[in-house]
């Protein structure tokens, strides 16, 4: 599928306009990014109410801190960084939520050849190694490395103690190193 970006204004320009106080630019940015952020957040939290709340908080935070965007790198990644931290904040305010983590996040033990190809495309040599990690270890790698969360934040997201996150991350690192050696 090859879709052109919906308009010619870049995300970086929109963020600049948001920093100047343009709600119009915020709306454009929101309409461009709300969808995939919703889907990606839903993969980490099964409760749609929480996802909606997090999405709102995210764009309110963007509105307040657009001028703090460095202008470097991918705005989408910056948005995701805000969203996933807001998600952690939202989960922190709630009672333990292990049940709200969607099954897919930890599941997928049966991996297909297609999975391995997808992983190879996106992660290079790391892909197949990631695929062979146990779901628990992979979830930790996803939270700490790919989502860029701290140990504490990952613990909140995954609903496990921070110590467990640490040991699993260490085990995952060892396993990956062995695979890639």
């Amino acid at each position: 599928m090859d879709l052109a970006p919906p308009t010619e204004v870049t995300d970086a320009e929109l963020l600049g306009a948001v920093a100047e106080g343009s709600t119009g630019a915020l709306e454009t940015l929101y309409r461009r990014h709300a969808g995939w952020l919703t889907v990606r957040l839903s993969r980490r939290c099964a409760d749609p109410g929480v996802v909606d709340e997090v999405l709102q908080d995210t764009f309110v935070a963007v509105w307040r801190s657009a001028r703090r965007w460095s202008g470097q790198g991918e705005p989408a990644a910056w948005l995701w960084g805000i969203a996933v931290r807001r998600l952690v904040d939202a989960l922190r305010r709630r009672p333990p939520h292990t049940a709200s983590l969607p099954e897919g996040y930890l599941g997928g033990v049966v991996e297909s050849a297609e999975d391995r190809v997808l992983l190879g495309v996106e992660h290079g040599e790391l892909g197949p190694a990631l695929a062979r990690l146990s779901p628990e270890l992979r979830a930790v790698v996803q939270a700490t490395v790919l989502d860029g969360l701290t140990t504490k934040e990952a613990a909140v997201l995954l609903g496990i103690p921070a110590g467990t996150v640490k040991t699993r991350a260490m085990r995952a690192r060892l396993a990956l190193r062995k695979e890639l050696a």
Binding site: T38, A76, G107, S112, L146
Partner: protein, 273 residues
């Protein structure tokens, strides 16, 4: 960037949570870097949901931001609602504060010019907090009254917090200016307890007497006492002497007890009109 993109099948499976964890991991990563696939994934979310959320975001974004006072109050650890309510306290308005400072400044200047005029400071400093309470809690100046009446706070806590703001907005200018008084008397601090006592009395009476009326009465009483003490051979310092201070402490304690007892009951807080 690579030439690989999500197929419609993969997009649908991803959005519906049907991808295996490993495949979803790859899609996550790809979507983070590919605007086209982001749009494709985004299109799976119901527009009604996106629209509804936008309406709420716009409301939050366009709401007036917290004022400087609100931010300061929040920094002290109070919640947003309390902060907004306090920021609406009339005595925090610039005009009121300027008035307080000017009046006290004149009194200090008069006192430096002639020691006898020290009585002017002693007369004015303590009645300002009382006037502030009358202004803030009376029917004259309180835009927060309606909110306060409906606010889901314990009435006592609300009263204490608001009074603290009102009183400190008048006491602080007084305390800052007091050191400039001629260093011959206890005036500089002696007025504090009488001021607090009068404030407490006005609030404690609020159940029976409208707060602005009791404040006027207290003010007149205090002015009369200062005038009486300042004429003839007497020294106005008598008003800052130990008996008055003790009396003030007793009055504050008694009024506090009345207020606590009254506000434990759910009767409406503010005075009858």
């Amino acid at each position: 960037m690579n030439a690989w993109h999500l197929t419609p099948d993969v997009v649908r499976a991803y959005a519906e949570g049907r991808l295996t964890a490993v495949a979803a991991l790859s899609v996550d990563q790809h979507v983070g870097r590919c605007a086209g696939c982001r749009a494709a994934v985004g299109a799976t979310v119901a527009p009604a949901r996106t629209d509804r959320l936008w309406a709420e975001i716009r409301e939050r974004v366009e709401a007036p931001g917290p004022t400087r006072i609100e931010r300061a109050v929040r920094a002290l650890g109070l919640d947003e609602g309390t902060a907004r309510l306090l920021a609406a306290t009339p005595t925090l308005r610039g005009a009121w504060l300027t008035g307080v400072v000017l009046v006290l400044l004149l009194a200090v200047l008069a006192a430096t010019a002639s020691p006898r005029a020290s009585a002017a400071f002693l007369a004015l400093a303590p009645v300002l907090p009382v006037a502030g309470v009358a202004y803030a809690f009376g029917p004259l100046g309180d835009p927060g009254r309606e909110i306060a009446a409906a606010a889901p706070y314990a009435a006592l806590r609300l009263l204490v917090v608001r009074t603290a703001v009102v009183v400190s907005s008048t006491l602080v200018p007084g305390l800052l200016l007091a050191p400039f008084l001629p260093p011959t008397s206890w005036y500089a601090v002696g007025w504090l307890l009488p001021a607090l006592a009068m404030t407490a009395i006005a609030l404690a009476l609020a159940e029976r007497v409208a707060v602005h009326l009791s404040s006027v009465a207290l003010t007149l009483g205090w002015l009369a006492a200062v005038s009486w003490s300042a004429v003839g051979p007497r020294d106005p310092a008598v008003l800052t002497a130990a008996p008055v201070q003790l009396l003030s402490v007793a009055a504050i304690a008694a009024c506090a007890a009345v207020l606590v007892r009254h506000h434990r009951t759910p009767a409406p807080l503010w005075s009858p009109r």
